[in-house]
Symmetry: C2
Subunit: 287 residues, 2 copies
């Protein structure tokens, strides 16, 4: 059965749009977007996010810096949004160019505008029992909302997470722990990954390796959440590329009880959660 992120995200966005319209705020919520360089995928994501903002009734402002910007240049852009009263959430499109100190930039974001949830205090509160972050990172939050929508039990389940990046693998692991799953966090140094994945009741993959997880890696009935996004040559037209996840979907769908498609699974949920976080930031600041 498909975990249909496209459908759920549309419903969430519809609800948010109606919420904003009904509130009839004097000033609209505002999202500040910072993008550095001209990565094609990043430009596409930013464009999508801006378009969804418009649909929601959220204003968006973009600061587009050149590829060779310094860490200080990017921090200055963050400061502009930090002090701009019309901006309630700040999104820094990742990855930043390698020469920019990503951590230094991310920690500069005003915690009250940290709609990406990457502030150390937000991550700490996400990790700790009986504490709640102001904001939860959008992609992990989207995964959990999708699992909840399909009433998938997490408590006591063996959850295997592939990848431990600050922005996806780590926070989703922390969220699954908080929901009382038994969580195993795997990564580039993990030995015999296949046999670990074979024990998973819930598999969350965020390693960016196209179709790495094969059907025989999966237990019958597993729930698969695929966060990977890779471009590979289209087998039907070598001049084109197609988008695939970390999991070989055709093989996995024979084993899984639930599975996210790529695209149309976690991706659209991420944007919906960004909208939700932005509106939440606005309402926290305002009231």
């Amino acid at each position: 059965m498909l975990l249909n992120g496209k459908e759920l995200s549309t419903k969430i966005k519809d609800d948010l749009r109606i919420h904003i319209r009904n509130k009839a705020y004097d000033n609209p919520p505002g999202l500040g977007v910072i993008i550095v360089g001209d990565r094609k995928d990043s430009l596409t994501y930013v464009k999508m996010k801006k378009r969804v903002c418009e649909q929601m009734g959220i204003i968006s402002k973009t600061i587009h810096l050149s590829e060779n910007s310094s860490t200080n240049n990017v921090i200055s852009a963050v400061d502009i949004f930090n002090t701009d009263d019309s901006i309630h959430g700040i999104l820094i499109q990742l990855p930043l160019p390698e020469h920019v100190d990503e951590e230094m930039v991310l920690t500069q974001v005003d915690i009250n505008k940290d709609v990406d949830g990457f502030h150390s205090s937000n991550i700490g509160n996400l990790a700790m029992d009986k504490r709640e972050p102001l904001f939860t990172p959008c992609t992990p939050l989207g995964c959990i909302r999708l699992l909840d929508e399909y009433k998938i039990e997490l408590q006591g389940k063996n959850a295997v997470v592939i990848g431990k990046s600050n922005i996806v693998g780590l926070p989703i692991s922390l969220m699954l722990m908080k929901r009382n799953a038994t969580v195993t966090v795997c990564h580039i140094f993990t030995e015999d990954l296949k046999s670990i994945v074979q024990k998973a009741d819930i598999l969350v993959s965020a390693c960016g390796q196209a179709q790495m997880v094969k059907g025989d890696w999966l237990k019958e009935g597993v729930v698969v959440v695929d966060i990977g996004i890779s471009h590979i040559p289209d087998p039907e037209d070598p001049d084109k590329t197609i988008i695939v996840g970390d999991v070989d979907f055709e093989e996995a769908k024979e084993k899984a009880s639930y599975i996210t498609p790529v695209p149309g699974g976690v991706g659209p949920m991420t944007i919906a959660m960004l909208m939700e976080n932005t509106i939440s930031a606005y309402e926290k600041l305002k009231f």
Copy 2:
């Protein structure tokens, strides 16, 4: 082979004492200790910590509140130490009585005096790759230092942590992840714990269940770090109690390549790390 925390902690404390003596600071480092109620074990720990402070050349002040103190009373005590210039580290002896909101109290500690490392921002920075907390919780830090002392490789190893408490299980899991172990976090909702533990190259137990982990739960050559402290009747004198860990030591030592004794393993390391964190807090504030 024993992971001798008593020996290593003595060496660390000796080094710290010499360090402080050589620096000949005008004012000594100061540790503020808050204890609520009269739990016998807590009183013992506080007494031990104060005695070690004295040996180090660290002054210590104690606020001892009665069992029926409110959350606000405890927070007021924290504020006294927050604003006391002679105090550089604050230790709140846990657990607090059930009616006191522990999280509210812990988050009140000035981050610069958070020698227990429980501030959300410290936990967030502990969790995240490429970030460093100001302070790391003492018990998990003591475990890692002990493993490092015996040159036990963590990267790529299967590490199983039993317990996910904010103060021990969670932070040690985060530290093992950061060191590139493949970490499985188990807890009260985990099913078939024994078979998970059987895969562990490194087992860290912090669940407080006396001698729960038996010899047949362990893989040959496993490294066992036992953080549990339980009092059970002395089999040789039923009027007395003895201290044991979460792991059945007599059985486990036949399987383990390295194992911490209880007592004399992690316990003394915790106090040594508290001293180190307090001196570090002092030097950070001073310089």
